[in-house]
């Protein structure tokens, strides 16, 4: 049972969360402008590293916040996603970097 640090609720048991896959896969700004291959890359392709991975979690049985963490896929060490130095505009609540995408209008 991993302990996942929710930015709102603090560390909680993994069973309170839903896993959200790789972080940082933003919805394309103009899907219609993408080639079939580029679009398939967005829909289907994800990294699967042995080592550090930025991934999303959803505190489904808690505060219902989507967030991202850094987790090592071998040791399961976890930590916050490194600060990109840019505060997302929507982040009114201090819950850390957005879980996915850039938060910009498509």
């Amino acid at each position: 049972m991993q302990s996942i640090e929710c930015p709102w609720c603090g560390p909680r048991d993994e069973i309170e969360f839903r896993y959200g896959g790789q972080a940082g896969i933003a919805y394309p700004r103009d899907p219609g402008a993408l080639s079939d291959e580029e679009w398939a890359g967005y829909v289907f392709m994800r990294d699967n590293p042995r080592g550090w991975f930025h991934e999303r979690w959803f505190h489904v049985h808690g505060c219902r916040t989507w967030f991202s963490i850094r987790r090592h896929t071998v040791t399961h060490e976890t930590g916050p996603v490194p600060d990109t130095g840019r505060e997302p505009e929507s982040d009114r609540t201090g819950r850390g970097p957005l879980a996915r995408g850039t938060g910009e209008a498509r």
């Binding site: 049972m1 048991d13 079939d36 967005y42 829909v43 808690g62 989507w66 209008a105």
Partner: protein
């Protein structure tokens, strides 16, 4: 046999037990093993493969031989069973057996969650020291140990600490620990698993710890900031010829039996030792009255035991030392010591082989953990205590680093290194006693070319027994190393996996058995459905009525009667389980436009629209009707099974892709109970149920409000239908009223038939994640005007756009009485081999299918083992012109007083429904306050009966609650960054009070008063109840008075609110309230 004196047993009391039917006795303080030895039992079983007689070999959890059936437990080590009066034990013939027909065990097991700063596993000298150092530094400490009393190895020896017997030091530490309120000592508790992030699972003999004999255990889930492992070491044997005779025993075990249990495991002993501890054992055995015939120590002269002699039963009578034989009835063996690194290895720590100790020891930790004492090769007692103090101080983050604690002087000499001896050549030299694996077997494995110890393990099965190779693992490594000419460190160990000791499945299940094995969700009408004899089906966790048989009807008969009512008269269905999400905000329409394939921003207020949502891959995810309640407010519905998934998914896109949209989402699934009134004669029934609505001006796909009710004119059957939504507490009364008015209750089976006849696909039945809206013939619902919606781009992918995809079609069998089989394969008739589709829904004479390249009129064969000829037809079997959705076209103006059936029977005996007069009370009977039922109303009596001074439990019914979205709301309980729950005082009069459905339009937040049930628990024992099912840290200084959070209790998501020092409120979704109430009552019973 039993010594006259000595040992930590109570000779003043006698416990009776039986072994293989023979009546025997022992004393409190005995294990089953020590009692058996005390009664002179030498043979405790036969080996699994070879059937050789075996005796007790160890005094602990590492026992490979003495596996017995004890009571209803099919296989346990006698060395780990505390003797109780009345135990019945049986030896095993060959493998243990599980009897599938055996009644469930009567022991009541449970679980508990506990958080701590420092977890210490093992209460030997190092563990006691660590717990004391951490505890006195102020840390929250849990100290657990598998024995009834602390002391570990000190209980089995005769050491002096500061000149006094070691148990006195143990007692002095125990007294100091007991004085620390934040130190929790768990005796009879074995840590069995060390998982990620310092999560340790342990099994406690809980009933024994509370002086009960019922055998109930508790599975502890412990989360520790830091862990100190003080798990000691296991002595290991040497693989020499004939080393499996009853009478051969580990030297430390022989010593423990003599010292701790006052039992002599033999009268004449030979000691074969590679270690100094073997000599200590010899001294202690001699002091206890055992004649020590000879000590064989290869370090002195290279002498080894080369064989054993036995009597006719196979029991040891002597040993061979080269060409000499020596008579004895006990051979005490010490091949060296293996630090118990199991938990360390489970934590993913790395081991190294220590050449001086000839053992694997912890090298690098993978978690916030430290090993102390013998489990890291620090064998001396004083050194282990000093190591424990240092580890405990480290774990508590204390600067004292253990120096503040006095390390007692010990009278034991400095231990010298052991002999590096793993095996003595010859036949029948056993490496693994439990699996009957010999040195020769290992030789065969390496001779066959295996070099990895993992391969040798799988080939020989060494280490795969119930003891998981605790006594054999290192020996196997040593033997393999010798055969390969390598060092043991190069060979390495096999993987140590949890559990450390076997755990009964019943313990893992705990209280989640029977009715509590899985949460059950029910609607407000569930009790009425039960009373009516409904047959239920599970839809996710929901219990939904499948059909309502009358007088011995079969399902087919009941469904045909229910169907006829809905098609020709009026039926009623409990549709409460559909997911309901309120979507609010300035951009709510824009948000829905993005997630559904069609448009919602253009929907007029007061209108309903059916929508389909797709994944980014373009495949259908869910469907449902969405209604615009107000300009900035929609109510979206989902399928029953996908409600949570859709709600989560909408939240995902809202938070992570479109945070700039002004929109919020609130689940109101449980707030509303829904009765669908369906059929050509639905109007008078609906009119009587909701008198305040003008039913003459109520077009299809619109919605009205009246009193507490919301009425949606939508249809999933093709017939005239009204879905009446009321706060859950009125649900049962509304359902009763609808049936009173003649509506025939129908279930999900009839619902499926009705919609299949109409050609409506069901998500998850016609779709399977590979089906687009276009495949379902619903291109009309996929907007071409919108710039984008989720999945749009995928609809243009070559595979999704190709013309020969499977599409929804109808099928009729040649024989109209035939029912096809769902999942049947479709092939082109006649005799076609290629599968072109499959049947997705099948009812008598009617079926839907997904099939490629077929046209109306095609003849196919449905293959389900039978070959059934079918014809392809339009999927819309019923009323393709939609002539019936406003009621029976033959009867276009339903009069007031239209006839309806007798309550709930579907009989043709009709009765008059009175037209509501102008002067009539606008509040219908079902909406009167005294008809309202809170979710736990039926538990009132049981809650009162279960309450005690320790815990009182009651429901707080009808509390007004609103959910308010937005970071600045600042009202009530903050459930999330921009999510608040305002909880009010109960309304006067004890009922729900008067709250019209539209009352919260324009106010902050959404009325969710009926969404959750509120249970109040108060008393000093509440934390003990909650900890059995709640994973968060409930320590009173962590979860302080006034704290609230969302978490899990049992398997239900809850809001937990600590309203006072000993008072808690549990808010749980109304559909799960019954499940949680049962769970809480069960927990109170186990207190």
């Amino acid at each position: 046999m039993r010594r006259e004196t000595g040992g930590r047993i109570d000779r003043s009391r006698t416990l009776r037990f039986s072994f293989d039917g023979e009546e025997l006795t022992g004393h409190p303080g005995d294990t089953l093993a020590s009692a058996l030895l005390g009664c002179g039992v030498r043979i405790v079983g036969r080996s699994v493969d070879l059937g050789r007689p075996r005796g007790i070999f160890t005094a602990g959890a590492e026992e490979p031989n003495a596996l017995l059936r004890v009571g209803d437990e099919p296989m346990v080590a006698a060395t780990t069973v505390e003797l109780r009066d009345g135990i019945e034990a049986w030896s095993l013939q060959g493998r243990g057996r599980l009897d599938p027909a055996a009644p469930p065990g009567e022991a009541r097991h449970d679980k508990a969650h506990l958080h701590c700063d420092v977890l210490v596993a093992g209460a030997g000298p190092a563990g006691l020291a660590a717990a004391l150092a951490a505890g006195e530094a102020g840390a929250r400490v849990v100290l657990l140990d598998d024995q009834p009393e602390p002391g570990g190895d000190l209980l089995g020896g005769r050491l002096l600490l500061d000149g006094a017997p070691a148990p006195e030091w143990v007692s002095s530490v125990a007294v100091r620990l007991a004085a620390l309120p934040e130190v929790r000592v768990l005796p009879r508790t074995t840590a069995v698993g060390y998982h990620d992030h310092n999560y340790v699972v342990a099994v406690e003999e809980r009933d024994a710890n509370r002086g009960r004999e019922s055998g109930g255990r508790r599975l502890w889930h412990l989360r520790a900031r830091r862990v100190v492992l003080a798990t000691g070491a296991h002595e290991r044997p040497v693989a020499f010829p004939g080393n499996d005779r009853p009478g051969v025993m580990l030297a430390s075990a022989a010593r423990t039996y003599a010292n701790r249990y006052g039992v002599l495991p033999g009268r004449r002993a030979v000691v074969f030792t590679c270690t100094d501890s073997g000599h200590e054992a010899a001294r202690d055995l001699a002091a206890a009255g055992v004649e020590i015939v000879e000590i064989v120590d290869p370090r002195r002269d290279g002498a080894v035991i080369t064989g054993t002699l036995a009597d006719a039963e196979g029991i040891l009578t002597g040993v061979a030392i080269g060409d000499r034989t020596v008579g004895c009835d006990l051979l005490a063996v010490s091949g060296g010591w293996n630090p118990a690194v199991h938990l360390f290895s489970q934590s993913q720590g790395r081991l190294r082989f220590d050449d001086a100790l000839q053992a694997f020891v912890p090298d690098r930790s993978a978690q916030a953990e430290r090993s102390a004492g013998a489990c890291r090769g620090v064998y001396g007692t004083a050194a282990a205590i000093a190591d424990g103090f240092a580890a405990g101080s480290w774990a508590a983050g204390s600067r004292a680093a253990g120096q503040a604690f006095h390390v007692p002087e010990c009278d034991e000499p400095e231990p010298r290194p052991p002999a590096a001896l793993w095996a003595v050549p010859g036949a029948e030299a056993f490496v693994d006693l439990q699996r009957d694996v010999t040195v020769a077997d290992v030789e065969r494995a390496t001779g066959a070319g295996m070099r990895s110890v993992e391969h040798v393990k799988r080939y020989t099965t060494a280490g795969t027994g119930a003891d998981q190779g605790k006594t054999s693992g290192a020996t196997a490594v040593g033997v393999v190393a010798g055969l390969l000419g390598a060092a043991p460190g190069q060979v390495g160990t096999t993987t140590f996996r949890p559990p450390y000791t076997p755990v009964a499945f019943g313990v893992l299940a705990g209280r989640e058995r029977g009715a509590l094995s899985d949460p059950v969700r029910v609607t407000a009408m569930h009790g009425l459905h039960l009373a009516r004899g409904a047959v239920f089906e599970n839809v996710g966790q929901w219990k939904r009525p499948r059909y309502f048989p009358l007088g011995g009807e079969s399902m087919e008969e009941a469904v045909e009667r229910e169907r006829r009512a809905a098609r020709t008269g009026v039926g009623a269905m409990d549709a409460s389980t559909l997911g309901k999400i309120e979507v609010r905000g300035r951009d709510a329409g824009e948000f829905l436009d993005r997630v559904y394939t069609n448009m919602f921003s253009t929907l007029p207020v007061g209108s309903c629209r059916y929508g389909v949502m797709c994944g980014a891959d373009g495949m259908v995810l869910d469907d449902g009707v969405t209604t615009r309640l107000a300009r900035d407010r929609y109510l979206a519905t989902t399928t029953t099974g996908n409600a949570a998934a859709v709600f989560d998914r909408l939240e995902e896109w809202r938070q992570t892709e479109w945070p700039h949209l002004d929109v919020s989402l609130t689940s109101v699934t449980d707030h509303w109970a829904v009765v669908a009134v369906v059929g050509p004669r639905a109007r008078p029934v609906a009119r009587a149920l909701v008198p305040g609505v003008d039913f003459d001006d109520f077009p299809f796909m619109t919605y009205r409000e009246s009193g507490p009710a919301r009425i949606f004119r939508i249809s999933f059957s093709g017939e005239l239908a009204y879905e009446i939504n009321v706060p859950r507490w009125y649900g049962a009364a509304l359902w009763e009223a609808a049936l009173e008015l003649g509506a025939v209750p129908y279930g999900t089976e009839t619902m499926h038939v009705l919609r299949a006849e109409k050609g409506f696909a069901i998500v998850g039945q016609e779709t399977d994640g590979t089906v687009t809206p276009q495949d379902l013939g619903m291109s009309w619902i996929v907007s071409t005007r919108k710039p984008d919606f989720i999945g749009k781009r995928s609809h243009a992918r070559p595979d999704t756009a190709r013309p020969d995809r499977r599409r929804l079609v109808g099928l009729v069998p040649d024989d109209p009485a035939e029912t096809l089989t769902e999942g049947a394969q479709l092939v082109a008739a006649p005799g076609g081999g290629r599968m072109i589709g499959h049947v997705t829904s099948a009812y008598p004479g009617v079926a839907l299918a997904m099939a490629a390249g077929v046209a109306i009129g095609d003849r196919l064969v449905a293959f389900d083992g039978r070959r059934i000829p079918v014809t392809v037809v339009s999927p819309v079997f019923h009323d393709p012109e939609n002539a019936r959705r406003d009621g029976d076209p033959q009867d276009p103006s339903p009069r007031s007083g239209a006839p309806a059936g007798r309550p709930g029977t579907g009989s043709d005996a009709l009765r008059e429904i009175p037209e509501p007069g102008d002067a009539a009370d606008p509040v219908p009977e079902w909406a009167r306050g005294d008809r309202a039922a809170s979710p736990l109303a039926e538990f009132t009596g049981r809650f009162a009966a279960a309450s005690s001074p320790a815990v009182t439990i009651r429901e707080l019914p009808f509390l007004p609650m609103r959910e308010i979205m937005g970071g600045e709301a600042g009202e009530g309980l903050r459930l999330g960054p921009d999510w608040w729950l305002a909880v009010g005082e109960p309304p006067a009069g004890g009922g729900p009070g008067d709250r019209p459905a539209g009352a919260d339009t324009g106010t902050a937040g959404t009325d969710v008063s009926a969404q959750r049930a509120v249970v109040e628990l108060s008393g000093p024992g509440v934390r003990d109840v909650l900890m059995t099912g709640c994973p968060i840290d409930l320590h009173p200084e962590v979860f302080t008075t006034g704290s609230h959070t969302q978490t899990l209790l049992a398997r239900a998501p809850v809001v937990l609110h600590r309203t006072g020092p000993d008072a808690y409120r549990v808010l749980v979704r109304a559909c799960l309230a019954g499940y949680l109430a049962e769970w809480l009552l069960d927990a109170l019973e186990g207190l």
